[in-house]
């Protein structure tokens, strides 16, 4: 049976990293290669031993696809390609290709240089890994090889995030990665065409979440900033340059005057230069509103928000500062984790006296959103990762019921095989079409029509032809199978008369069948020939020979049964 196999890699039920193996049409594809940020040892990487116990992965994988630059989707990529070993293509969108190495290098620095860990990838490995990357555009069909093709769709979520369709022949899979269905201030909403894939793969957490609105998150953010400023305090907002920084700046700028605030807002210069550069490069990835305003000004040119200078640090009075993202291991990250005492260099201990608010602004879909997307895509099957099947009976039933399709929920490390029903396109010969055509209304193109013929598979072509043509092409001679059966009937008439009576009898009964009375007296019903054996001794009985080809076996059987009942007296000669 044709099937698509899916294995989410990873141990246990942890949800911290994405790495999914898909086998489709004889091709093996790895979807994302994320790192688990909660572990400090090898458990942070996916378990590649599912693919092979030892040796490189190149011969086992046809390609790797990365959905976006978050480390839980791409963090293990250099480890996989350079330390385990993979030399095949790695596909991602242009912004992802530009931003991934920055994040990977930042994380490497913290892990190795600051924390002193070993068994981690090096800067050179990141560079070597990125050399294997093939960048793709949205809606561009990329031919990985003769049979495997992929296509990226806009996912929203972060700059460069994509959902991807993988196709081999007539089988296809759609993988969503992370996405959101409502646009935010700088990115649009996910969109994909109604491609009706065999399988749709997404996160189970989406389906079980009901999200607080973006507006309330923004309100909460503005309120905290407003309250702190009103008290005369300073506000520090660590944020990744290419993530929410743009969003938060637009928000603050929009509401600063309305909230009657006059305090200065600063962001770190490094942040703006980098962000400006990337947004300029990838302006088509932002939403329409940003694109319109970008024509008039720079992405980070605001009325109330200015670049920060370190000399301002001790300025009195209220202030809002957006320094940059706090990677794990940094002072900023420790504070966000709730630490109130910090050990600085030189054994100095600092007390954290500021109020800390941890806010999440990442754009994700929720229960309503995932149902919306499934409705949009119309898949044959749905597979949700990072959930526990036995704990999710209701969710499974909900999706199966709503869309009348199967829903699968493999555990990490478990392989699910989804049976597909692929269409195989076949050329049909004109002769066969003509021969099979029936009189009547024009056939409905939407209704399947059953046809019989001989399938010839030669090189890469499949043709359906009539058996005669097939025999001819193959240079074979056709054999005919005929069966002959003898039936004894009671009839005292002459052979010729008996045959006439048989003819009339059959004409009465088989009104819809072509019945012929041949010149030599024998009767023909379709291909069935009825004769009288000249060998009969008794004049009152006749040995009737009935012979037919195997195609008319049913009718032949019927005629035998009929004749065995004898001829009615009333039948004329």
């Amino acid at each position: 049976m044709p099937e698509i196999k899916v294995t989410p890699l990873g141990a246990g039920q942890d949800v911290g990293r994405s790495c999914i193996l898909v086998s489709i049409g004889g091709k093996n594809v790895m979807l994302d290669c994320g790192m688990h940020m909660g572990y400090n040892d090898d458990r942070r990487f996916p378990d590649f031993s599912y693919i092979t116990q030892n040796g490189r992965l190149t011969e086992f994988l046809d390609c790797v696809i990365i959905s976006h630059f978050h480390l839980d989707h791409c963090g293990a990529l250099p480890y996989m390609s350079e330390m385990i070993g993979y030399d095949g293509p790695i596909y991602m969108t242009h912004p992802t290709k530009a931003i991934c190495p920055i994040l990977l290098e930042d994380y490497r620095k913290i892990t190795v240089d600051k924390k002193g860990e070993t068994n981690f990838f090096t800067s050179q490995m990141i560079k070597d890994c990125m050399k294997k990357v093939v960048a793709v555009h949205l809606h561009q069909t990329v031919q990985v090889d003769d049979e495997l093709e992929i296509k990226a769709y806009y996912a929203g979520h972060v700059l460069g995030a994509a959902m991807v369709q993988i196709r081999v022949g007539s089988e296809s899979v759609v993988y969503t990665g992370d996405y959101n269905m409502t646009p935010d201030r700088h990115l649009g909403a996910a969109w994909i065409d109604k491609c009706r894939p065999d399988l749709f793969i997404s996160e189970s957490t989406y389906a079980t979440t009901i999200r607080d609105s973006k507006r309330c998150r923004e309100r909460d953010f503005l309120k905290k900033v407003h309250d702190a400023i009103e008290r005369g305090g300073k506000v520090l907002i660590p944020v990744f340059a290419l993530g929410r920084a743009q969003e938060l700046c637009i928000l603050l700028e929009t509401f600063w005057e309305r909230m009657n605030l006059k305090a200065p807002i600063y962001f770190s210069t490094g942040l703006t230069e980098k962000a400006n550069h990337y947004y300029k490069l990838f302006i088509t990835w932002t939403n329409q509103k940003i694109r319109k305003t970008f024509v008039q000004r720079n992405m980070f040119e605001f009325k109330h928000i200015k670049p920060f200078d370190r000399t301002y640090a001790d300025n009195p009075g209220p202030m809002v500062i957006m320094p940059g993202y706090c990677v794990q291991g940094t002072v900023g990250h420790k504070i966000l984790s709730g630490q109130r005492k910090l050990e600085m260099e030189g054994r100095q201990t600092l007390e954290v006296k500021m109020q800390v608010e941890y806010m999440s602004f990442s754009a994700h879909a929720d229960a309503k959103g995932i149902m919306q997307l499934i409705r949009q895509v119309e898949p044959q099957n749905v597979l949700l990762v990072h959930g526990e099947a036995k704990k999710m009976g209701f969710l499974k039933e909900k999706i199966e019921q709503e869309f009348s399709i199967n829903c699968y929920m493999p555990a990490n490390g478990e392989t699910v095989a989804i049976v597909t029903n692929p269409n195989i396109p076949v050329d049909i010969s004109l002769g066969l079409l003509k021969g099979d055509s029936t009189l009547g209304p024009v056939p409905d193109p939407k209704k399947p029509k059953l046809m019989h013929g001989t399938l010839i598979i030669k090189d890469n072509s499949l043709r359906l032809v009539s058996p005669d043509q097939a025999v001819k092409e193959l240079g074979l001679s056709e054999h005919h199978l005929r069966y002959t059966c003898k039936v004894q009937i009671q009839d005292h008439h002459s052979e010729q008369d008996t045959l006439n009576r048989i003819y009339n009898h059959l004409k009465n009964i088989l009104k819809d069948y072509p019945i012929q009375h041949l010149p030599d007296g024998s009767v023909m019903v379709e291909s069935i020939l009825i004769k009288i054996s000249a060998m009969s001794e008794d004049q009152s009985t006749k040995d009737v020979l009935v012979s037919w080809t195997y195609q008319d076996e049913e009718l032949g059987s019927y005629l035998i049964t009929l004749l065995k009942k004898g001829l009615p007296q009333s039948i004329a000669l």
Binding site: T209, I210, R219, M359, K368, M371, M392, L395
Partner: protein
């Protein structure tokens, strides 16, 4: 789009002053019930005729139940913990405290459904059985539940068919059928303890009943004077107190004491735009930890909070302490109809936190600032 945004923007700036916290969610379908399961999750359920409706147990986000260090809780989303499908719409849903049992009711008749929340090993809500006693078509039962001495349910649609049944065995422990009561339709009923309960009829009649006595209805109030035809009354009782309030669809609120239902403790006129036509959503609840405060909804797209400490008999118009307008402002752009609040509920221990839901599937959680005491 721009117009909607600026209305929201204005209200948002105002909301910074009005609310300490505000959360806005969108359910897949609207609900008429919000039922707390202890203080960590709520149950909601669909109420649409002619289709399968979802019952969901939603876990609260950490931010809404954390007692300390709330600032370090980034999680603000509800999670579906358990779910199931009901063949009929759910108009009433009650959780039996201390158990994993839920009881629901809804059209097309007065039968009840008993559900059980599965263990942590499953996300299912299992339909255990149907309670059918004197089932009447065309109406649905009001429900109240009690867990002592065994889980039991008080249900009925008229004063003459009120029944207490043990949930597990369905044994009928009590019924008003033998009391010769009028078949007056009821709007609300509530267990006060395992033997006594209060009943409010749609006409505004209020009774106290004791299931150990015959006749069981032991105290009663006068029916308030109706101003117009079709006035509908509902009630809310103050947990742990002897106070009960009755709310009329014309905006009047009567305060009474169980110990003497013949007397009116207080009377107020709420300021409402017009008398409500769909009285099914009228709801009045007392705050569990804010003395003398009650909340009212079901007239329009707002929830009103009142401090009744100043209501004396014949007090006249009452000014709300707070009005939550969020549902009207944050209505989806495509919809022109202002949503109608279908239910509200107080947080079990956060003094000024309420939940409210409307017929546009919105669910709000809001912590209002009382500027009188702030």
């Amino acid at each position: 789009m721009a117009e909607d945004e600026s209305e929201w923007d204005c209200w948002m700036v105002e909301s910074l002053r009005l609310y300490k916290d505000l959360h806005v969610f969108e359910l897949q379908e609207s609900t008429r019930v919000i039922e707390w399961i202890q203080d960590r999750s709520i149950c909601v359920a669909g109420c649409t005729m002619g289709k399968k409706n979802e019952i969901l147990e939603l876990s609260l986000p950490q931010k809404l139940y954390a007692k300390g260090n709330q600032g370090l809780c980034p999680e603000r989303d509800f999670t579906v913990k358990h779910g199931s499908f009901s063949e009929r719409p759910i108009y009433e849903l009650k959780h039996v405290a201390g158990t994993s049992l839920l009881v629901s009711s809804g059209p097309p008749d007065t039968s009840l459904q008993v559900w059980r929340l599965a263990t942590d090993e499953s996300d299912a809500i299992i339909l255990e059985n149907m309670v059918q006693h004197q089932t009447a078509a065309g109406q649905w039962s009001k429900i109240s539940v009690n867990c002592f001495p065994t889980p039991r349910v008080l249900h009925g649609s008229k004063v003459s068919d009120l029944t207490i049944q043990e949930i597990a065995s369905q044994k009928v422990l009590f019924t008003t059928g033998a009391d010769g009561c009028e078949p007056e339709p009821i709007s609300d009923l509530e267990f006060l303890d395992h033997c006594t309960f209060s009943v409010c009829s749609r006409k505004g009649h209020l009774w106290l009943a004791d299931s150990r006595q015959r006749p069981s209805l032991i105290g009663c109030s006068d029916v308030p004077v109706s101003r117009e035809d079709g006035c509908h009354w509902t009630m809310g009782w103050a947990p742990g107190h002897s106070k009960v309030a009755r709310l009329c669809s014309d905006g009047r609120v009567l305060l009474s004491d169980y110990r003497d239902l013949s007397k009116t403790l207080g009377l107020a006129e709420l300021v409402i735009p017009t008398a409500v036509s769909n009285s099914d959503y009228l709801s009045l609840t007392w705050a569990p930890y804010l003395q003398d405060h009650l909340a009212v909804s079901g007239f329009n797209g707002t929830v009103h909070v009142y401090d009744t400490s100043s209501w004396l008999a014949g007090a006249g118009q009452a000014e709300p302490t707070f009005v939550h307008r969020g549902h009207s402002v944050i209505a989806p752009e495509a919809e022109e109809k202002i949503p109608l609040i279908t239910r509200h509920a107080w947080h079990p221990w956060k003094r000024r936190v309420l939940l409210s839901t409307a017929d546009d599937s919105s669910l709000h959680v809001w912590h209002w600032v009382d500027h009188n005491t702030a």
